[in-house]
Symmetry: C2
Subunit: 405 residues, 2 copies
Amino acid sequence: MALIVQKFGGSSVADIDRIRNVANRVAEYRRRGDQVVVVVSAMKGVTDNLIEMAKSLMPVPSEREMDMLLSTGEQTTIALLAIALQSMDIPAASLTGAQAGIVTDGVHSKAKIRNITPRKIHALLDAGNVTIVAGFQGETSEGHITTLGRGGSDLTAIALASALKADLCQIYTDVDGVYTSDPRIVPTAKKLEEVSYDEMLELASLGAKVMQSRSVEFAKKFGVIFEVRSSLNDNPGTLVKEETQSMEGVVIRGVSLDKNQAKITLVGVPDEPGMAARVFQQLADSTINVDMIVQNVSHGSDTPATDLSFTIDKPDMARAQTVIDGLRDNINFVDVLADENIGKLSIVGVGMRSHSGIAAKVFEVLAGAGVNIQMISTSEIKISVVIGIEKAEEATRAVHDAFLD
Amino acid sequence: MALIVQKFGGSSVADIDRIRNVANRVAEYRRRGDQVVVVVSAMKGVTDNLIEMAKSLMPVPSEREMDMLLSTGEQTTIALLAIALQSMDIPAASLTGAQAGIVTDGVHSKAKIRNITPRKIHALLDAGNVTIVAGFQGETSEGHITTLGRGGSDLTAIALASALKADLCQIYTDVDGVYTSDPRIVPTAKKLEEVSYDEMLELASLGAKVMQSRSVEFAKKFGVIFEVRSSLNDNPGTLVKEETQSMEGVVIRGVSLDKNQAKITLVGVPDEPGMAARVFQQLADSTINVDMIVQNVSHGSDTPATDLSFTIDKPDMARAQTVIDGLRDNINFVDVLADENIGKLSIVGVGMRSHSGIAAKVFEVLAGAGVNIQMISTSEIKISVVIGIEKAEEATRAVHDAFLD
């Protein structure tokens, strides 16, 4: 008898029929004797409706009340899923995040889990119930309802798996698992049987939309092995776990393309201490997320100057330009260049640590495909390049097939 | 500075505009310096939608899970109302029933309030907030969510007014208060300035749909004075309170007509001990609510027999007839007569206690209107008669105008 935590997202419970499907899947595990804890999100669309109502009253509603409001979404799903299971003669009982013992800090709308006291979950499991927990939510130690922000339901599942010392944690989604690349761009992309936390983290932050980084980070920190798999079929998914020796034999785990970034270059920034700090502090104050940053050695003679390039999310472009314009008097840069027609191509693999020459091979493949590289940024297990959008997909296929086909 | 508890039902918060109206009204009290606790129901229609979803999964869903499901309705309203108040610069914070400290027994779907520990309410009030509490719900001492059943939000308001020692408890509804009769039937009906708990109880159980009996009983038990008034205008409502000397000077407080009852007569029931018990036990076991019961002295000589008449809610008629048919072998009654074309006319007033001749005058008025009386039942402060439906409204007007015009 295993203890399994299963998580189903909003599209898996979008309507009554899908809730019944989820119940069928859960019932299978329960019938073979496993103890099952199910974490669910709000039914697709429900959260958006609630947000719309609140915003019609006030453009920026208080976060405490938004948490009170939005937490009803998951609470609705848990009750309906419990009823669906009971209709199949499977004993089931639901718990809100607060009831499940999920205690968070007091940062409404993006609370962090502080600790979990799964007393009620154990009691319900011991009484033979499938226990259904509302994802995405908890309460402060003073008893105020909080929500965990984006990706919160995944986090609930992984944190519960850790607290319950579960034998297995399954994240059900609408894809079959983690792929070597986006199959819509790279037809030769293959599903990975396993991937390390670090690789998953890089992939997650690189546009492989499977999971938010924070859930993977949490899993890594507490050593929770989890499986990403499809709620639409019975195919085995991808196991995410600590790096193993065999993983290092594989140099490259995946290739991803992020077409949602834009590039800004400040030309001729005076080469004085504190310039970069000023730029990125102002951007951070405006909650603009900066991804890649590249600065070259300075050139010029009398007044040494350098070019500073960085990438941001495309939707933040207009706001970023306003911020930069405000800095013009403060920092005597020569010009600003903005480019939305870029793609960020990234190659990820823990094997890079022990293999040299990967970067060189990437650049060679790109050169062979006639692709000009605009920016380069590397980490221990990742190489990212910014290239023109017009050749981005072709470049992705070329790099993928050179390393992974 | 007064502490006021205000309750708004589902039609008063049916949509965003009405929630804004409620916020305006609450804000008025808050702005003049009162401390305000607001109790709200689910937005009209929301509860029915949730029930429909659950029933599409299972005809009779578990009551624990229904409580989990339905309690989201009020939770949505409290958050939206808090946001509406905040948009008017009124500090506001919401609490679920559980958070508000409402502890109930464990009878899901119709829980009884055991005690209230309004620690969080006091804290929020002391911090200057309008405090909004979800009606209709609480939690068991083990932390499971419960709902209070029909009329539960009124009960929440009255119980909170008691626990908080509020100066005033206002039940906002879509009528102006309690009337001497239904104005749609009796054009001369007048709004009552005040009414005693006992009169309100009789009126509540007699089809004056303003409030459920249990809330009035609770108010009576704990001496909570409350006002029933309209959420649509600023007219003073009706004050419900302990009987006063001046109330007794008024013989009749109101006249009500219940057209939702049906009559069953068992003809020739053997006059032996235990016959009535058998009939009504069987009906109770089938959760059929019996209202009036009339049995005459027996007649006949060799085998003394009697006629037993009682009234039930019209929708229970088919089920009641099945129960009665099942008793035919057990009780040798001669015949069953069923009649759905009846009305129950009731006259209520604490003044009856000290005035004689009221019944005689009622019968005289009915005779004068050519109305035949089928059943009579009296209590200390009430006279009810069952009459034919065809003359029921005319009879109501005649009795009302004879006593109250």
